[in-house]
Subunit: 239 residues, 2 copies
């Protein structure tokens, strides 16, 4: 099943942008009368019939509307320090989308080597992964902020807040399994540090903002593996 | 911590091969008297002192022996159809090693587009991932066989045997979470199909050999994501 995307939905019509129109009409050769599936990126899928097969501005008439199509039973925010090798971070956001994630926040830690990301490229990967894994909501991605800024902004948010760090100096870490197992809500926020881990100051500030320090099993995981492992664990927990 | 690997261990000495010697002596500039950690790839790590810093045949005296170093509390065999784009399969075996996997069997299904893999390249990735994630056992990798041959060979093995397929035609699939949750043993074998899924005949033969059809949640996952998700779920289950 091929999925198209547009945010331009009104009066019973979905209007595709230039790129999606070209893909639909020029590449996949859809013509008026063909049935197509279109997501709005915010949680709704429309089954449509193509009524204008222009390769620059295709239009499709909505036949049926499917809110919550491909949704999951939790709300997950992943605040992850982008890896030095950006391929690994890009891989993470693709795979996280397949499992199910709601918001990705690139955060820059005291020990981060990478401080910039290409937002347009990341958005393209998220759109492509959402379409490929049959989800109508594309994960949101936020502009990078520092770990401390993210922690401050999320302090008042009603969510199970976890920080995965590799040391027990400030407080003994809990197992992520144990913490998730005793949580009855559905909103989870997880902070994952860079290759050089969080600084003690960052973990201290996070704990003061309500973050629980956790460990993700006994293996030494790379940043992107710890991040994806956390997503898989949340996905499994709410399965 | 930098880890080296050799299978040549006897008389209180670890003898590194040419490639590992060059890495130890030429690249990392270790000299006689330096402490080094060496794994045998079969589950033991040796803390050693370098006694011959030859860049072609380094030798190190064993100071202490750590059997089971970096091991996990389960035995997991992943029989996975290699992906058309081999990068995705290589990515899977790297990440699976980080979480913890014991044996990887590339299997060729009726609908597999890729029928060959480069074993030497896969072995290098496994060695590198095991060293990076501080494990003394390198996952075994077997020569590719057909799905049907793998199923026949594993029929008599005492293990929880699961096949992840995308259809319920032959029997309603169980949730992998439910099946793992009611299993009290520690040996798990999971079969993951190719992009085009298993054929009905393959699933039927697997079920006759004791495999339970499972689904890995509601998301549509790519082959390598389903495979890694299964590894993460087993890792989490025994956490």
């Amino acid at each position: 099943m091929e999925i198209f995307w547009t945010e331009d939905v009104s009066d019973g019509l979905c209007r595709l942008g230039e790129e999606e129109s070209a893909h639909c009409v020029r590449v996949l050769r859809h013509r008026n009368g063909d049935n197509v599936c279109i997501i709005d990126g915010h949680g709704t899928m429309y089954e449509c019939e193509l009524v204008s097969d222009s390769p620059k501005a295709a239009e499709a008439k909505i036949i049926s509307t499917h809110p919550g199509w491909g949704s999951h039973g939790y709300n997950l925010t992943m605040a992850v320090c982008p890896t030095k090798n950006i391929d690994r971070f890009e891989w993470f956001i693709e795979k996280a989308t397949e499992f199910g994630v709601d918001c990705i926040c690139p955060v820059i830690g005291d020990h981060s080597e990478r401080k910039v990301v290409k937002m347009e490229r990341l958005k393209k990967i998220l759109l492509s992964a959402a379409k490929q894994s049959l989800k109508s909501a594309i994960p949101q991605i936020q502009e990078p902020v520092s770990v401390n800024a993210f922690v401050r902004e999320s302090a008042g948010v009603d969510s199970l807040k976890l920080i995965a760090c590799c040391f027990d100096d400030l407080a003994p870490r809990h197992s992520i399994k144990e913490v998730l197992g005793t949580y009855s809500g559905t909103s989870v926020t997880i902070l994952i540090g860079p290759e050089g881990d969080f600084s003690k100051e960052e973990v201290k500030a996070a704990m003061e903002a309500g973050y629980i320090p956790v460990q993700i099993g006994n293996s030494r995981l790379r940043t992107e593996t710890a991040a994806l492992g956390s997503v898989a664990v949340v996905y499994y927990n709410y399965m």
